[in-house]
């Protein structure tokens, strides 16, 4: 190629290269910008109500009654915590054992069937879970325990447990698959049975993965809105028993936003609930990352775990 002819085209090509590099960089920064934007927007719109109500009365006030201008979100906070803990207590053991079954004992064909089932469970829209829970589970609870209404904490816990199951299974399965085979072989060679090996060696070796699954499950359960709105009774009660109709942080926003008038303290307080929910989830994410990091470091030094 002649140098005289190629130099202008090379210049345009270099310019194109630079523009594209910049464009890709901007695409990458978009995610960062979105996170910052969401953060700032939530803080700006969530703080005024908290400042007006006061942080302590807002977080620990026991009554939520927009008519009486009382905005205490303790009922929602406790309901969210109770719902998530219940879902984890119920969903994690089942998910964990399923993961063990999948990675250590199931025949290949059966494992692939179960894996598909897990994927499909993960793909079913949350509102569909809510609908089935509302029509099947709620009347079921009502009949079994002889209550006036079956909608309440227990129904929400069961629905949430089913919904966090897929995430727990897939995280725990990955963690179990990463346990070095030598550990298991050593255990078997020492005379342990297969189940003893799995429960005393493989699971403890994958414990940080298990912890990750738990934290992930909590995050999912706390953030879920549309499934629990249909089954939880949606009354701002303190969760006294398993059957109390409750309202969660998420469902408070979803159910009240449409009738809270624009500019009212009520609406502002709903924004504040959004902020609290966001901070809650961010805290959980930080925990999750901490677990993932210990997982990686312990993998690098196999002698320690």
């Amino acid at each position: 190629m002649e140098p005289a002819a190629s130099s202008p085209s090379r210049r345009t090509r270099e310019a194109a290269e630079k523009t594209m590099a910049l464009l890709f960089f901007l695409c990458g920064m978009a995610a960062v910008a979105f996170v910052l934007g969401i953060c700032i927007y939530l803080i700006v719109s969530g703080l005024p109500a908290i400042r007006k109500i006061g942080l302590f009365p807002f977080l620990f006030g026991k009554t939520w009654s927009p008519k009486k201008e009382l905005f205490g979100i303790l009922p929602f906070l406790l309901a969210s915590i109770a719902g998530a803990s219940g879902a984890v207590l119920l969903g994690v053991p089942v998910g964990l054992l399923t993961a063990v079954f999948l990675s250590k004992s199931a025949p290949r064909r059966l494992a692939s069937v179960i894996r598909t089932a897990v994927e499909l469970l993960a793909g079913i829209p949350s509102i569909v879970y809510g609908l089935v829970g509302m029509i099947v589970l709620v009347p079921g609870i009502q009949r079994t325990f002889g209550l006036a209404s079956g909608a309440g904490l227990l129904a929400a816990v069961v629905v949430l447990a089913v919904m966090i199951l897929p995430a727990v299974v897939s995280v725990a399965e990955t963690a179990l698959a990463a346990v070095p085979r030598e550990y298991e072989e050593a255990s078997l060679a020492l005379g342990a049975t297969w189940t003893e090996t799995v429960f005393r060696v493989s699971l403890p070796a994958a414990r940080s993965g298990v912890a990750t699954a738990v934290v992930l499950g909590v995050g999912r359960a706390v953030g879920e809105a549309m499934a629990v709105i249909l089954v939880s009774g949606n009354v701002p009660n303190l969760p006294g028993s398993l059957f109390t109709p409750v309202r969660f942080l998420t469902t408070a926003i979803a159910s009240e936003m449409s009738y809270a008038s624009v500019g009212s303290l009520h609406r502002m307080a709903l924004y504040s609930i959004g902020l609290v929910l966001f901070l809650f989830i961010m805290g959980i994410n930080v925990l999750l990352r901490a677990f993932l990091r210990t997982d990686r470091t312990s993998r690098r030094r196999p002698g320690k775990s």
Partner: protein
């Protein structure tokens, strides 16, 4: 099993094996029950009139065509908005990023986005998009575009990583610049992975409800695409919520749920097929 084991150990072994099988079975049973129940309860109400008309209070008729349309509008718009951004970000992360700290920051941001509950997206989308543009398909799609961005980034990144380094070296060796290498060699060989990401994103959008309540709105009138962009229109999921919670019309609610479940099945199948092609 070894006959020399003590009876207690053998019993424990058997019990635990049984428990594992039970849990695996439970997961399958749950899915079978869900799908079976939905089909049994909802399929009889899925009729051509339901699918092809809109609801009318005057005639007491129920039709979900407007919701099917707005679901398609939202899926299309959010994907068009998010796909270039997601692929671009993934290309930057795998091909360009020279500063590790910056790449970590971007990956952290994407992970954080993935963890934010959809109701929070809905809240911010309402404050930021819907108050400026009015509740409608555009505001809803902008909100969902941010929500599906992490899915697109992650799947694209994973498939870009599987493109052999030698391809890039070959293209560079022939005198292609970096952008030309990406355009002609890297992206085409990662196309299947990007497609999988799109299918996953479509599933997420089609099944989303909390983020759309206050951004896309509750409208039940059939609108053309351009009208719908700025006018309230309920997607299938939001319509399901309306019929179940506000109107108490469970038959229609279950019909919509059945359609959504079938859609999930189909998308899952498609993603599997795309994934299999990817492996080849």
């Amino acid at each position: 099993m070894d006959k020399r084991l003590s009876p207690a150990r053998r019993r424990l072994d058997l019990a635990l094996r049984g428990l594992l099988l039970l849990c695996g079975g439970l997961v399958c049973a749950l899915l079978a029950f869900l799908l079976g129940y939905l089909l049994w309860r909802g399929l009889p109400f899925v009729s051509w009139t339901l699918l092809s008309t809109q609801s009318s209070m005057l005639q007491g008729a129920v039709g979900i065509l407007p919701h099917i349309a707005s679901t398609l509008y939202v899926v299309f718009t959010s994907l068009v908005l998010a796909l270039p951004l997601g692929v671009g970000a993934a290309v930057y992360l795998t091909e360009y990023a020279s500063s590790r700290r910056l790449a970590h920051l971007m990956e952290f941001a994407a992970e954080t986005l993935a963890g934010i509950p959809s109701i929070v997206f809905g809240l911010v989308g309402m404050l930021f998009f819907a108050q400026r543009l009015g509740a409608g398909v555009l505001a809803g799609s902008l909100t969902l575009a941010v929500m599906i961005l992490p899915i697109l980034i992650r799947t694209t990144q994973e498939s870009l990583k599987t493109v052999p380094q030698t391809y890039r070296e070959g293209a560079m060796g022939l005198g292609a610049g970096k952008w030309r290498t990406i355009r002609t060699v890297v992206l085409p060989s990662a196309a299947d992975g990007i497609l999988t990401g799109c299918i996953l994103a479509v599933g997420r959008v089609a099944g989303e409800s909390a983020a759309l309540l206050f951004t896309a709105g509750f409208g039940t009138v059939l609108l053309s695409y351009w009208e719908a962009l700025r006018n309230s229109s309920a997607t299938l999921t939001v319509a399901l919520y309306l019929y179940a919670n506000e109107r108490g019309d469970m038959d229609t609610a279950f019909a919509i749920a059945t359609i959504l479940a079938i859609l999930t099945l189909l998308l899952n199948l498609l993603a599997k097929l795309a994934g299999r092609r990817l492996k080849r």
